[in-house]
């Protein structure tokens, strides 16, 4: 169980893909849901939204950027190695329907989260315009898969190495001006989701975002992942992870994600020493 059957390095080794044996989860998982993973007995539990599932093979795919102790430990796992713990599928699935014209905006590893949602939206009959962004073209992931999952695809790079030279929000704005869009799904770094939501709010287009707060159990038991949605406090693990982008308090989310910054630095240093 939880054995890695396929492993790829993407974006010059900064992003890793793991396809993991998980028969029960692969049968159950729907777009938008996440799993909790733990590398070893002393590890932390971290949530990752699934990038793909293969119910016939009985596998799920996760894609993560190597940033802290947990992902550094994950990166060390080779094909044939097992995760100490893998739990899921958790969270509420994306509401998939035929809305008409949909724009999917993805940035960084948010593109991985966006992939099954985009695929499902297109299969449900929507016209799907996808806008992907990265700092530089060599850091962009899943271009081919996203192309296949969308009606049309735009690429934006901060350095102009491919496609539009600038941010995804520029292309989003243009698209919204040109066409009547029924739904926007934006998944990526917090500033990207925040600014996409600000634009769509102005233009009054419904927007779904997927949030990634710190979690412990992932089943509603601890309340660590609480987020402010309008006037309400919600638990992202059970009430989300997807919410109405126009109501999310992104600034609070950003601050809460930085709760353990100092501890994380200390932990990562210790982890790197022990790996070396």
């Amino acid at each position: 169980m939880s054995k890695i059957v396929n492993r790829e390095e993407m974006a010059q080794g900064t992003i890793i893909l793991n396809e993991i044996e998980a028969p029960r989860i692969s049968q159950k998982a729907k777009p938008g849901q996440f799993v909790i993973l733990q590398a070893d007995e002393t590890g932390e539990r971290i949530p990752l939204t699934m990038a793909d599932t293969d119910p016939e093979k009985g596998t799920i795919t996760i894609i993560y950027m190597v940033v802290g102790t947990s992902t550094t430990k994950f990166k060390e796992l080779k094909v044939g190695d097992e995760f100490y713990a893998l739990i899921g599928p958790l969270g509420s699935p994306t509401h998939i329907g035929n809305f008409g014209k949909v724009v999917c905006v993805g940035g960084g590893t948010g593109i991985a989260v966006l992939h099954p949602i985009t695929k499902a939206l297109k299969e449900a009959g929507n016209d799907v315009t996808t806008i992907l962004g990265s700092r530089s073209y060599d850091l962009l992931i899943m271009e081919e898969m996203m192309k296949a999952a969308s009606t049309r695809l735009h690429i934006c790079t901060d350095d102009g190495s491919m496609g539009h030279h600038g941010f995804v929000t520029d292309v989003l704005k243009e698209t919204l001006k040109k066409d009547d869009i029924d739904l926007v799904v934006a998944i990526g770094p917090i500033p990207m989701m925040k600014f996409c939501s600000l634009i769509t709010k102005e233009m009054n287009v419904k927007t779904i975002v997927s949030l990634n707060p710190i979690m412990v159990d992932g089943t509603g038991m601890c309340g660590c992942c609480r987020v402010s949605i309008g006037e309400d406090t919600k638990f992202a693990c059970v009430d989300g992870p997807e919410f109405d982008g126009h109501k999310v308090d992104f600034d609070e989310l950003g601050k809460r994600l930085a709760s353990y910054l100092e501890d994380e630095k200390q932990s990562l240093e210790a982890c790197k020493i022990s790996i070396a």
Binding site: R24, A85, P89, G220, Q266
Partner: protein, 466 residues
Amino acid sequence: MSKKIKTPRAKMPEQDPDARRRNFDEVPLGLTEEMAMVEASRCLQCKKPLCVDGCPVSVKIPEFIKLIAEKDFSGAAKKLWETNALPAVCGRVCPQEDQCEGVCILGKKGDPVAIGYLEKFAADWERENGSGEVPEVAEKTGKKVAIIGSGPSAITVAGDLLLKGHDVTIFEAFHKPGGVLVYGIPEFRLPKAIVASEIASLEKMGANIECNTVVGASVTIDELFEEGYDAAYIGVGAGLPRFMNIEGENFIGIYSANEYLTRTNLMKGYLFPEYDTPIARGKNVVVLGAGNVAMDSARTAMRLGAESVKVVYRRSREEMPARDEELHHAEEEKIEFVLLTNPTKFYGDENGRVTGMECLKMELGEPDDSGRRRPVPIEGSEFDFDCDLVVVSVGSNANPLLTSSTPGLELNRWGNITADPANGKTSKKGVWAGGDIVTGAATVILAMGAGRDAATSMHDYLTLGW
């Protein structure tokens, strides 16, 4: 008067409060063999023992105590095992003063027999010195039972049904079994090695344990029946933390007790960075609430290096719901009780970290539904104090994750499962439930009592029908 009554009740040797409030080692050190035998000799061996009636799982109290008095410690442990799958746990965390010891006849004129200490003694002696053999299980019945959750009620059901020859699989959502015994109750009150040893015994008796399985998400109860299970027991605990719902509650440094204790105990945050999960170490800590979980949180904060820990409670000392022993231990460890005080909002800095709270002074009015005098705010009594860490420990609600995925399961208006109080039967055929998911937050032993009753009923069903 007989000589027996004059022997004073054993005093439990404990770690010195000044030392223990900075370490996570167990507080009581345990009775010596001699102390245990002397204490056991105080038991009057009543013909109609009230203590047994006072115990939710009817432990054969006079019998196990007699064996201790006769220096047959292993025999005493085995006697405990006949009715209790978790004696080392119960000896530590049961509210004996309200149960067995509360009705002990010696307590009428003096101090009751220290039944809890003796139970702990016998179970610990057997774990450390015994042969490790487990009770013999009956011939296989070929019936398969799914047990959802692995806390005290689930363990009790598992133990009872294994003894009767049924196949038992325990499904646990976390990566380690034990439920609240592992994530909730701190190491200094219940060492995790003891829980692991009790679970290992269950496995020796044949229990399968599937961790990392969230029933309701990974698999549903109906799917378990399709997979060939004949009956299911739901013992998933209460599970959804309550907050105060006041301004500023999402500031960093404000935890639910569930999160604070899970990070510390299950994830071993107190051993950070050896373990990867961090836990905030506050200097000025406030714990809201006054139950056992609040005391566990306050004492944990002290051990994590706090300069001051305040338990803030809206009623008076008399109404604090924690056990006397827990309150006493907390006070010995220099935890302050700020009574008749209720928070109204939290203050934070520009980084979103909590820096303090505003409170109102309260006074006691007329009794409310619970029979306790209702706290009433005193107008204009607002005052502030500083804090950098807050643990909200004001109870839990029922977690809907499992119940919402199980059609045919009747719930009450709070979302708890409706189950027959006599036998744990739910409205869904083949499904029993017990513990906090039925009653709301209660004690380990009450959950175990519910498990015992359900196991009896489940055995009848598996052998005779619904």
